[in-house]
């Protein structure tokens, strides 16, 4: 699994130039270096900065990761989808057009 440094503001992004032209793209000032698992067809620097989940480190409730550590299982509690990775529980959600995972308190 490669960790990709997504270091450029617009290049990875479909029609970034159009966006920039349309005033929709992030300005250079808020472009940030983010570790990303996937690239949008669109500028993304405005998305929250998220990182791949570190393995073997304590994960703070409320933190957000773009990908899960290995060996997780999909669990439904009530009507809600979770990913349980050892003692850490994640709730998937769509952030823009990508799924990210929020660390939550164990639901059971």
């Amino acid at each position: 699994m490669n960790r990709i440094m997504h270091k450029f503001k617009l290049g990875g992004l479909m029609f970034a130039a159009f966006l920039a032209a349309a005033g929709l793209a992030p300005s250079a000032a808020n472009a940030v270096v983010v570790v990303r698992r996937s690239v949008n067809y669109h500028p993304v620097a405005r998305a929250a900065v998220v990182t791949t989940a570190a393995v073997g480190t304590a994960v703070v409730v409320g933190s957000v990761v773009r990908s899960l550590p290995p060996a997780c299982s999909s669990v439904m509690v009530g009507n809600v989808a979770y990913q349980q990775c050892g003692h850490t529980w994640y709730q998937p959600r769509y952030s823009g057009s990508e799924v990210s995972y929020v660390v939550v308190s164990p639901p059971r």
């Binding site: 966006l19 005033g23 067809y41 669109h42 929250a48």
Partner: protein, 260 residues
């Protein structure tokens, strides 16, 4: 003696050559501004033509440079299939090395579905595509694929950001004769190949990020169908049995959570 004559002749020839070159170059550059109005007009004509289309499908073959942590540039690929029926239907399938999304919009509900992860999320959608775009971008941080191509020639096109625009020449893209244009703006150089004749379709595009040392590029070749058969059920999401519903993080929610 002979050799010095040759040298003189060569020098004269070179001088003549150089001066004719500089003349040839000087004329157009002095006559034309950096932003050639004809190149901007071509963008606007393309935008107007795209907005005229009541239904279409387009398949984009996309390549994207990215950087490994070492700084080495690598290329990823994928496809986008976009199907649109105005005023209230849109479907997009995005597949790639690192992408997997389906977007469904049927005038009532907007759904994003990731087939590989098996998650989908929906929200009640506004009644038209024009309104939808605003909601997806501002509230949910979702950019509809290729949407920005359709701006040119409207007040949102931002053509004032373009610092240089010129026609490079003529080029054939997948068998279609195109005019090749090059544009510059802050941090970005971009090129566009627009079909010649009455169907002013974008056939190819390359974006180069000039503010990065590695100058990563993003490119696509576009294959259009202006008379597709688009049945209603293409646009309505029916969740597969194994798919789980999750929620969208709204833009406000996202920025709040990143500060926790």
């Amino acid at each position: 003696m002979r050799s010095s004559l040759v040298a003189v002749a060569l020098a004269a020839g070179l001088t003549l050559g150089a001066s004719s070159w500089s003349n040839a170059e000087a004329k157009p550059t002095s006559a034309k501004p950096a932003v050639d109005p004809d190149a901007i007009a071509a963008l606007q004509k393309m935008g107007a033509f795209l907005r005229e289309q009541q239904k279409f499908s387009v398949r984009a073959s996309v390549t994207t440079d990215d950087l490994l942590a070492s700084g080495q540039k690598v290329q990823f690929g994928g496809t986008i299939e976009l199907m649109v029926r105005r005023p209230d239907r849109l479907r997009a399938d995005v597949r790639g090395d690192r992408r997997d999304e389906r977007i469904y919009y049927d005038g009532k509900t907007f759904t994003m579905f990731g087939e590989k992860v098996g998650y989908y999320a929906s929200f009640p959608a506004p009644a038209t595509l024009a309104e939808l775009k605003d909601v997806t971008e501002k509230r949910y941080g979702i950019d509809l694929p290729l949407a920005d191509l359709f701006y040119w020639g409207t007040e949102h096109d931002g053509s004032s950001d373009i610092t240089a625009a010129t026609k490079v020449g003529v080029s054939t893209i997948e068998g279609t004769a195109c005019d090749h244009y090059a544009f510059r703006q802050k941090d970005v150089d971009w090129e566009l190949w627009i079909e010649q004749g009455p169907h002013a379709l974008p056939r190819k595009m390359v974006i180069t990020t000039t503010s990065e040392k590695s100058r990563p590029q993003h490119g696509m070749v576009l294959d259009w169908d202006l008379n597709p058969k688009l049945a209603d059920d293409l646009f309505t999401f029916v969740p597969p049995a194994q798919a789980h519903k999750i929620e969208f993080d709204t833009a406000a929610g996202r920025s709040a959570s990143s500060h926790q």
